[in-house]
C-alpha cells in the first residue's frame, strides 16, 4: 500500500529514475534484507559448491591416457605446486645473481681494472612469468587496436563517405578468425622486423599484432554506431546554437558515443584475451597458451591438473579484465544506467 501512494506522488517526476528506485525499494520491502543477502551471496556460493561436487564426481569416472581426469582437489594441489615452483625459480634466480655479484666483487678487489659483466638468468619461465607475458601481450595488442580503431570509428560514424569507404573492408575482415592471420603476421614480422638488437621479441610482436587484428573490429563498429546515432534532438540543439563543427564533435557527438565506445572496447578486450591464448598455443609464443601446450606435450600424470589450473586462471583473468573495463567505463561514462552485466 505504501508503495502505491509513493508511486502516485512521484509519477509526475522523472518516471524512468523513479521507476528504478521504486522497484528497488518495493523489492526491499517485500522480501527483506535477509532474502537479498541470500540472493547476493548464498545462491552463488551454493552454485559453486554444486559445480565443484559435480566436477569431482564426474571427473573420477573419466580415465584418460594421462590417468584419471583431475578433480578439484588435485587441481588445487597442482596450483600450490605451481606457486612453489615459481618461488623456487625466483630463489634460484636471486642466488644466481648473488653468485655473480660476489664473483665480480672478488675480481675487482684483486684487479680494479678487471672487466666484469652480469650474465642474465636464463631459467625456464614459470607459470606466473607466462601469465605476465600474456598480460603484457594482450595489453599491447589491445592498446594498439584501440588507438587505431577509435579514430577510424569516429570518422566513419561522422562521414557517410568514409563509412561507405571503410564498410566493405570492415565487413570482410570482421568475420575472419584471427588465427588465420597468424601465419601471415608471422611471415610479415620476420620479413619486416629485422634488427640486430630487437627491442621486442618477434614472438611477442606476432602475438600482439594478432590480438590487435581481432580487437579492431568491435571497437570500430561500436564507435561508429555510437557516433552516428546521436539523439536527433541533441543535434538540433547544436544546430540552434550554431555550434562550430569542433565544438559539436567534442561537446555533443563524442560524449554521447562514449557508452557505445566502451561496449566496443569491452568486447574487443574479451575477444583479444581469448585469441591470445589460442595464438600462443598455435605459434608456441611465450605466454599462458604456451604453458598449456607444453603441459599437453609433456604428458605427465600431473599435466591435466596443471592445464586445468591454467584454464581457471585464464577465466579469472578474463573476468578481471572485463571488470577493469567496467570500472573505467563507470569512471568515464556519463550514462551510469547503460552499464550491463
Amino acid at each position: 500500500m505504501q508503495t502505491e501512494t509513493t508511486l502516485n506522488k512521484y509519477q509526475a517526476y522523472d518516471l524512468k529514475f523513479m521507476d528504478r528506485l521504486l522497484t528497488f525499494l518495493s523489492s526491499d520491502q517485500r522480501s527483506g534484507g535477509a532474502r537479498r543477502l541470500v540472493q547476493a551471496v548464498g545462491v552463488p556460493l551454493a552454485a559453486v559448491a554444486l559445480f565443484l561436487m559435480l566436477w569431482s564426481v564426474l571427473a573420477a569416472k573419466v580415465q584418460t591416457s594421462l590417468g584419471q581426469l583431475p578433480g578439484p582437489a588435485k587441481v588445487w594441489e597442482q596450483a600450490l605446486v605451481l606457486v612453489d615452483e615459481h618461488q623456487a625459480a625466483r630463489a634460484k634466480e636471486a642466488a644466481f645473481y648473488q653468485r655473480q655479484e660476489k664473483r665480480n666483487a672478488e675480481k675487482l678487489a684483486a684487479n680494479p681494472n678487471a672487466e666484469v659483466r652480469i650474465r642474465p638468468y636464463t631459467g625456464a619461465p614459470t607459470f606466473f612469468d607466462q601469465i605476465l607475458t600474456s598480460l603484457v601481450t594482450v595489453a599491447t595488442g589491445f592498446l594498439i587496436a584501440s588507438l587505431i580503431a577509435i579514430p577510424i570509428g569516429i570518422v566513419t560514424g561522422m562521414s557517410q563517405t568514409l563509412y561507405a569507404a571503410f564498410n566493405p573492408i570492415i565487413q570482410l575482415f570482421k568475420p575472419v578468425s584471427p588465427l588465420a592471420w597468424l601465419p601471415i603476421v608471422t611471415m610479415v614480422v620476420s620479413a619486416v622486423y629485422v634488427s640486430k638488437d630487437p627491442l621486442f621479441a618477434k614472438s611477442f610482436l606476432n602475438s600482439a599484432i594478432t590480438v590487435t587484428l581481432c580487437c579492431l573490429w568491435p571497437t570500430i563498429i561500436n564507435t561508429a554506431v555510437g557516433v552516428s546515432t546521436v539523439d536527433k534532438d541533441l543535434i538540433n540543439v547544436s544546430r540552434v546554437l550554431r555550434l562550430p563543427w569542433l565544438t559539436k564533435t567534442m561537446k555533443i557527438v563524442l560524449p554521447s558515443a562514449i557508452p557505445m565506445m566502451f561496449t566496443g572496447l569491452r568486447l574487443s578486450l574479451g575477444i583479444g584475451w581469448m585469441v591470445l591464448i589460442a595464438a600462443e598455443m598455435l605459434a608456441q609464443n611465450p605466454g599462458l597458451g604456451k604453458f598449456v601446450w607444453d603441459e599437453f606435450q609433456n604428458g605427465s600424470s600431473n599435466s591435466l591438473a596443471r592445464i586445468m589450473v591454467a584454464v581457471l586462471v585464464i577465466g579469472f583473468i578474463g573476468f578481471v579484465l572485463d571488470r577493469g573495463m567496467l570500472l573505467l567505463q563507470r569512471k568515464f561514462s556519463w550514462d551510469k544506467s547503460a552499464i550491463t552485466r
Partner: protein, 296 residues
C-alpha cells in the same frame, strides 16, 4: 513591407517525401506576430504544430512560402530563435550550469567577459529558480526541473523569439501550473516573443495573447485565431470564475471537438505529422479502381 511586423509566416507549405510521393503536411500557413506577443498553437496530434515551430526555428525548410524575422528570411537555425524542446534535450553529461553555459559561450563569445558570462548564467538559473541545482546532472533532477533548465538555456541565449514545443507536456498538473506562472513572470519582465505549442486548453487561454487553432492534417492550416483580451498579470484562481475566460475556453474547445473532431482521438501520435498516416492517396489502390467500359 510592414515595419511593425516582427515575425511573419507567409503562405508556408511543406511537403515531406514519402515512398508514395510527397506528403503535404502544411498548406498555406500565414501568420503575423508582433514583438513581445505570446502565441500558442493548438490542434490535434499530427496536425503539424511542431512542423510550424520547426520551420520558424529553421530546423525544417518550407517547400513554398517562408518565414521573415525582422525583415530577413529564416533559412537556418540560430540562437536568436531559441527552442525549448519537448523532452528538454539537455546534454546528460553536463551539469545544469554547463548546459546553460554551452549556449551562453556560443552566443556571447567576445561580447561578454568570463565573469560576465558566469553572472549571466547564474542570473538565468535564478530566473527559473534552479540556482540550487547548478552542479547537478540532468539525471539527478526531476522532469520539471529539467524543463526549467531547458527554459533557462533558451532564455540565456537572449533570443528574440522563444519557441516552445509542448514544454510542459510531460509534467504533472502542479509542476505545470508552477512553471506556467514562472513563464508568465519571465515573459512579463523580458518581453520576448513566444510561440508555444500546447495540447492544454487552459494553458493556452491563461498564457496567450492569441491562440492559433490549427485544422487537422494532411495539408493542415490555420483554422481560427482567437484574441485573448484578458489583462495581465493574470491570476489563475481569479480567472477560474471569470466569464470571459470561460468563454475563450469554450471557444477553443468547440473548435477542437466540434469543428475539428477526429474519428479517432489518438492524442499520442507524433506531432510532426508522421508522413503517410493520413494520406488520402492511400485509398487509391488497384482494387479500389473500377473500370467502366463506355460506348460498346
Amino acid at each position: 513591407m510592414n515595419d511593425k511586423c516582427h515575425l511573419e509566416l507567409t503562405h508556408v507549405n511543406i511537403d515531406f517525401p514519402t515512398d508514395t510521393g510527397p506528403f503535404r503536411a502544411l498548406e498555406d500557413v500565414s501568420l503575423k506576430i508582433d514583438k513581445g506577443e505570446f502565441i500558442t498553437l493548438i490542434g490535434h496530434s499530427g496536425c503539424g504544430k511542431s512542423t510550424v515551430l520547426n520551420i520558424v526555428a529553421g530546423l525544417h525548410r518550407a517547400t513554398a512560402g517562408g518565414v521573415i524575422l525582422n525583415g530577413r528570411e529564416v533559412v537556418e537555425p540560430g540562437p536568436e530563435r531559441a527552442v525549448v524542446f519537448q523532452n528538454h534535450s539537455l546534454l546528460p553529461w553536463l551539469s545544469t550550469y554547463e548546459n546553460v553555459e554551452l549556449g551562453v559561450k556560443q552566443v556571447f563569445k567576445g561580447k561578454k567577459s568570463r565573469a560576465e558570462m558566469r553572472d549571466w548564467i547564474e542570473h538565468n538559473l535564478e530566473l527559473v529558480h534552479m540556482s540550487h541545482a547548478r552542479d547537478k546532472r540532468p539525471d539527478e533532477i526531476s522532469g520539471g526541473m529539467k524543463q526549467r533548465v531547458g527554459i533557462a538555456r533558451a532564455l540565456a541565449m537572449q533570443p528574440e523569439v522563444l519557441l516552445m514545443d509542448e514544454p510542459f507536456g510531460a509534467l504533472d498538473a502542479l509542476t505545470r501550473a508552477h512553471l506556467q506562472d514562472s513563464l508568465m513572470e519571465i515573459h512579463a519582465s523580458l518581453g520576448n516573443t513566444v510561440i508555444m505549442i500546447t495540447h492544454d486548453v487552459d494553458e493556452a487561454v491563461l498564457l496567450s495573447d492569441r491562440i492559433v487553432m490549427m485544422t487537422n492534417g494532411p495539408a493542415a492550416t490555420i483554422g481560427e485565431v482567437l484574441h485573448i483580451q484578458l489583462e495581465r498579470p493574470r491570476e489563475r484562481l481569479a480567472l477560474a470564475d471569470d466569464a470571459r475566460y470561460n468563454h475563450y475556453r469554450s471557444n477553443v474547445l468547440k473548435f477542437l471537438y466540434e469543428r475539428q473532431k477526429r474519428p479517432e482521438e489518438s492524442g499520442e501520435a507524433d506531432d510532426a505529422a508522421a508522413p503517410g498516416t493520413d494520406d488520402p492517396r492511400e485509398d487509391v489502390k488497384p482494387e479500389n479502381i473500377a473500370l467502366r467500359v463506355v460506348g460498346s
